[in-house]
Symmetry: C2
Subunit: 170 residues, 2 copies
C-alpha cells in the first residue's frame, strides 16, 4: 500500500483569537505547512464574531486541505462568563472541520504539553522551543498559533501510536 502524507489542522479556539496550524505527516516525518490566527473585532456582536471565526477556519480548510483536525480541550477555571465565551468559540472550531468531513480529535492541554515537551507541566517557552525543534520552518507570530501547531503535533503523534498499535495487534 502506498504511504500517503496526511495533513493535520490544529486549532486553539478563543473568542478574541483562534489560532490554527497545519502540519504534514509522512510516516515518521513531520513538516510545517502553515499557521496563523483568526482575530475577531471585540466591538462586534457575539454572533458576528462567531461568523468571523467560522469563515476564517473555512478559509484555512479550503486553502490547505487538511485530512484530519484536532482541537485543544482548553480548561478554564475562571468565571462562568469566560467559560461560556470560550465554549462558544470552541463550538464553532469543532463544527467547521466536522461539517467539512474531517475527523475531529480533542486533546487536553496537559496531553499537548506532555506530547510536545515530555512533561504535562511545561512552560509556554518550552513548548515554543520544541516547536522550533520539531518544525524548524515554522515561525508562529502569536501564542495561539504556536499552541495550535502543538495540538496538530500532538494529534500526529497520537494517530501514529494508534496505527502502530493496530499493526502489532494483528
Amino acid at each position: 500500500m502506498a504511504r500517503q502524507a496526511i495533513r493535520i489542522l490544529g486549532i486553539d479556539p478563543g473568542l478574541r483569537r483562534t489560532g490554527w496550524g497545519v502540519v504534514e505527516v509522512d510516516g515518521t516525518r513531520l513538516s510545517f505547512v502553515a499557521c496563523g490566527s483568526v482575530v475577531t473585532d471585540d466591538k462586534a456582536a457575539l454572533a458576528v464574531r462567531l461568523v468571523t471565526i467560522h469563515d476564517g477556519l473555512v478559509g484555512v480548510v479550503g486553502d490547505f486541505a487538511p485530512h484530519e483536525a484536532a482541537v485543544e480541550a482548553t480548561f478554564v477555571n475562571r468565571d462562568a462568563s469566560a467559560t461560556l465565551k470560550l465554549g462558544q468559540a470552541r463550538g464553532v472550531a469543532l463544527l467547521v472541520p466536522a461539517r467539512l468531513g474531517l475527523t475531529v480529535a480533542e486533546y487536553a492541554p496537559n496531553s499537548v504539553k506532555k506530547t510536545v515537551t515530555g512533561t504535562g507541566h511545561a512552560e509556554k517557552a518550552q513548548i515554543r522551543a520544541m516547536i522550533r525543534y520539531l518544525l524548524p520552518k515554522a515561525a508562529p507570530k502569536t501564542a495561539d498559533a504556536a499552541d495550535a501547531l502543538a495540538v496538530a503535533i500532538t494529534h500526529a503523534h497520537h494517530r501514529r501510536a494508534r496505527i502502530l498499535s493496530a499493526c502489532y495487534a494483528r
Copy 2:
C-alpha cells in the same frame, strides 16, 4: 409604507436538546408558525453533535424563512464543564442565523420571563400558560421548544418597543 409581517426565530440552545420556535408579528398581532427541538445523540462525538444542531437549525431557517433571530442567553451556575458544553451548543445556535444573514438578538432568561409573564421570577408552568394564551395554536411538546417560543415572543415585544420609541423620537 405597507406593513410587512415579520417572522422571528427563537432558539433555546443546549447540547442535548436545542429548542426552536417561529412566530409571526404583523403590527400588534402575534401568531404561531412552528416549533420543535433538535435532539443530538449523546453517544456521538461532540463535533458530530454540533453538526446535528447546525444542520437542524439550517433546516428550520430554510423551512420557515424567519427574518430575525433571538437566542436565550442562558446562565448556568453549575460546574465549568456544563457551562462549556452549553457554550459550545450556544456558539452554533448564534452562528447559524448570523451566517444566513439574520440579525441575532440575545435575551437573558429573566428578561424572557418578565416579558412573557410580567415577572422575572416566573415558574415554568406560568410561562407555558402565557404561551398558550399568546399563541393559542402552539402546542410545544417539550420545555425547550416552549422556551424557544418564549424567546421569540420576547424579541417580538422588544423590537416593537424599539420601533415605537424610534417613531416618537422623530
